[in-house]
Point group: C2
Chain length 596, copies 2
């Protein structure tokens, strides 16, 4: 491709809308253009990147026997109501764009395809003989993000590869899950990315186990915790760790003390010389569940620990078998609106009585109580007295009505010791999620009544897995991981072009002729080559080539009289002067090496 035909328009200045490096570089290089909030056009060079990623994804999916399909983007609401996700995805979190057609039928724009594919599998697959099957598609998906940002990282339209597998039992599902893990590692490696696979929360998709693939990058939205030996890695949302032992409490007599203005753990410790690990912190929250249920929650956790809201949300969901649409701490204002007396904030204890809720207008009238693992074996602890400016010391669970339901709801942090080996420490890094694989189990096949005939001749729901890759996000993550002050440094396998021939002065007959000759030869060798034939100054062309990040550059300049060129490698900034023939040979060798 000749640059003169490429509609190349690069920007010297950083567009105001961009916050992170990759977003800035993609805009400056003319790879993407914003059409409206969170919605971008992929311009010709970006399309080539996406096409190369797509091809790698297809090859690795096909190698595992997956079948490509294309499912609709507009979904009937009925199907999502059947699975129970319509409300949460529309009125609730509002992540699904939705509309009515000319017949006033409710429709949604698909952010994901469990419903549609499960329905189709139920209708198409009759017998266990047709299993397992793994169907995938590569397609634009939609999410009405609350705060679209970072370009393609959190956009409202984005390209996904999503796959859905169907099995006759759990062990078959696990085999495919492992195969997908393998395919994903190959895909990311072939794309030239450094990724890490981490234990993850399954979120709104659901299921029993899930794993995310993260491109490591400082601008990543996710915090990852990795053990020093590399055997454990998890998204902080999901991560577990050993917590420190509490400082033994000396209060072996139960009594109530006055604690004026000591409403935080910090104030209490400072004034009373307690250690935070001796205190039970109680957090009161309200969870909005599906069907509009408003459930007050009472969480007990050790004073030196932080609550992990994702773990808590999952626990509530699992315990009540209801979707949590929203969750937040209860405020004084909310209590007033609900017609309730004020709670003794700062002095609430795990045994706060349900009678506090008796007059609630719309809330449930009993607290759902949870205790984090950090408090279950605590002895002689400090806790609130359910009365403003009063606390209790020397308490034990039997004195306050027993231990509530024990669950892990604490946030694991960098520096803590690992569960699998106490000698290992958790280290942190930041990551961009580019893949996520799930063992769904029978969640969707049961709710949508999708069954097959098993070996015994009985109807049984499918076991399912699902597997996503954010294709457009991956493209930007590659830029976030590979750039310098001059611009993008595309990994060779997903670069829009592998080589750029830069003719320093296109009006010089020798330079032009040698450039054209090399261009022709490289095309013949099936190298994906760009030929900068513009009548621009050499400096402008070099700057553009650096910015758009083409891995290799052949500079045809003054020495072209003696058939000599410069071979420049973008990722190392190394330059060699070589005879043109030799440069071609070396280049083709290097390219084939990197692609294999």
């Amino acid at each position: 491709m000749r640059v003169s035909n490429l509609m190349l328009t690069t920007l010297r200045n950083v567009p105001a809308e961009a916050e992170i490096t990759s977003h800035k570089l993609l805009l400056r290089g003319g790879f993407i253009r914003r059409v409206t909030s969170g919605i971008y056009a992929y311009m010709p060079m970006m399309w080539k990147v996406l096409e190369k990623i797509t091809k790698i994804v297809q090859e690795e999916m096909n190698a595992k026997g997956c079948l490509q399909t294309l499912l609709p983007q507009i979904h009937p609401a009925d199907l999502w109501k059947e699975s129970g996700r319509w409300e949460g995805y529309t009125a609730g979190e509002g992540i699904m764009f939705n509309l009515k057609d000319r017949q006033e039928k409710e429709l949604g724009l698909a952010p994901t395809h469990e419903e549609v594919i499960t329905k189709i599998a139920g209708e198409s697959i009759n017998s266990y003989k047709q299993l397992p099957v793994n169907l995938y598609q590569i397609q634009t998906k939609f999410r009405d993000e609350i705060r679209p940002r970072f370009g393609l990282m959190r956009s409202r339209e984005f390209i996904m590869k999503d796959a859905y597998s169907f099995h006759q039992n759990k062990s078959d599902l696990k085999l495919t899950y492992k195969e997908m893990d393998d395919a994903y590692r190959k895909i990311f490696r072939r794309c030239g990315l450094e990724t890490v696979a981490v234990d993850a929360d399954s979120g709104a998709i659901g299921g029993s186990a899930s794993q995310e693939f993260m491109v490591t990058a400082e601008a990543g939205e996710d915090m990852i915790l990795i053990s020093s030996d590399g055997l454990y890695s998890a998204n902080q949302e999901k991560a577990v760790s050993r917590y420190s032992d509490p400082i033994i409490s000396g209060f072996n007599k139960a009594e109530v003390i006055t604690t004026p203005n000591q409403n935080s753990i910090e104030e209490l410790c400072r004034t009373q010389s307690f250690d935070p690990s001796q205190i039970i912190k109680v957090i009161v929250m309200l969870a909005i569940l599906e069907e509009g249920i408003k459930q007050p929650i009472l969480v007990s956790i050790r004073g030196d620990q932080e609550l992990n809201i994702v773990k808590l949300t999952n626990s509530i969901s699992k315990h009540l078998d209801k979707l949590v649409i929203d969750i937040f701490p209860i405020t004084e204002e909310q209590l007033s609106i609900e017609g309730l007396d004020q709670l003794p904030f700062g002095s609430i204890a795990p045994d706060l009585e349900n009678t506090f809720l008796s007059n609630a207008k719309s809330w449930e009238k009993e607290f759902l109580r949870f205790a984090d693992l950090t408090v279950s074996e605590l002895k002689n602890f400090v806790c609130g007295a359910n009365k403003k400016d009063h606390h209790r010391i020397g308490m034990n669970w039997d004195l306050i009505g027993g231990l509530p339901k024990e669950i892990d709801i604490r946030k694991a942090n960098p520096g803590e010791r690992c569960i699998h080996d106490e000698k290992q420490i958790l280290n942190e890094c930041r990551g961009i999620e580019v893949g996520h694989i799930f063992q769904l189990g029978c969640k969707y096949s049961k709710s949508l009544n999708a069954t097959f005939t098993n070996q015994e001749g009985n109807q049984e729901p499918f076991w399912m897995g699902c597997y996503g890759i954010g294709v457009s996000r991956l493209a930007q993550a590659a830029v976030e991981q590979n750039n310098d002050e001059n611009g993008i440094i595309w990994p060779l396998t997903i670069a829009p072009y592998e080589v750029i021939i830069t003719v320093a002065n296109i009006e010089d007959i020798n330079q032009k002729a040698l450039g054209e000759k090399l261009y022709k030869q490289l095309k013949k060798e099936k190298v994906d080559v760009l030929f900068d034939d513009r009548k621009e100054r050499a400096g402008v062309k070099f700057k553009d080539a650096d910015l758009i990040g083409i891995p290799w550059r052949i500079v045809v300049g003054r020495d072209s009289v003696s058939e000599e060129v410069e071979l420049f490698e973008r990722c190392t900034n190394s330059i060699k002067s070589l005879k043109a023939e030799k440069a071609l040979q070396e280049l083709i060798k290097e390219i084939n090496l990197k692609k294999s």
Copy 2:
């Protein structure tokens, strides 16, 4: 691919929802599945067909120097308001799905991309030096069809290739338009389709010239008129022809006659012994224009001719420079609602006075009057007297206030003589539109203020063209054109698989071994081969292979002991018994021949 891994589920019965052959066969073969009205999932074999068509389209577009992109599917309403199409596409015809996001911003789901691409071109292209440029994409588009039907023929989600070209002048646009015509002919020929290129109406897209590409098939929704010599072909919506001479009227004296109960041309002719060609028929219509304007229209046309509503709509639009959102004949009921006196239906003349409209509540108060070319030179004609049960005879235009604006608004019909050569007769055939190319001119660049700097350093709006191919529709049109009572007969180049190896009895060791051997060899030769390894009766396998339409079949049966197989060609139903090696050679030769 092994059939046992293909999730193949064929249906013996014709699904009730399908009306035309291709729709029935695609459902029966398991190629597509309906998800909701007008919305289909493309299953694995269909995806392969679409992929092959896509590749052919890409190759031919790239060969013309076009650049592939991917534009958003969600468009901000503002952009469509700027071009003036929002109202017509939403509230008007309602063809564009539309919704509001969480910020209550109006959005539309793209049925076409003139607005978005024009905006981007205006922002990205600075100079004439960057022109011409032709950007294309292959993408799912949306139309909220009034009556979705015929499977992928008129669906609400469909795959399109759409291209948009930008030029510095009209002659450059014409060059590219011609190049696209050439590319389209190559694409359809390579897809194995018989198509005809016809003059077409530009519809809601607009512009000065346009041409459709039609797959000829009896189930086609469009009527095409083609001259015997093939030099002229047009969609009936657009077609022109020579009209017959009128029978000379003998009434050379103007007078009013009473014509009780002779309200139709037919009754009038029967009772009065007139010939229809001597009569001026007047049709009163109401056009709903953008901005809610309601314009009464008075159309005069010869009594033996039919009105072409598409031509009329375009004429109104052009004349008033306003979009026509709807148009229909005025009824007695509408006159009552509007508070107007009844019109003398059956006796209306071209000179019906505007005073009829004086008391209109919301309509414009003057008729827009048109006369078809068939009436402009008519002499001594018969027309209404604007009074119930009265007509005038021996009339001439000077007696009734002169000829209204002359335009061509008559429908051309099969059997009529051609304009380019009166010896040529128009023949009819039916077609399925699979491609449409347009010379848009400056319509969108002007309304969206998209300009470039010309050679003189001045800002000028782009000249534009646009070029569409209905990719999913093409796939179904191929089936409509290529099938028999046993099923589909895919053209080789777009068939889901080129060859199917059918092992008659998979439990027979010899048969299985030979089948596996051939499968391996064909894969090695890069033939796209399907291996029917199912434990089914041979008859079932043959029926399935016929239904899904694989062009070639190798049958491995009893003679496999002596390495003998049958080679079956789907499109000719010819069978040859051959040594396996020989069959392979012949097959590979035939496939390469058809693909070249």
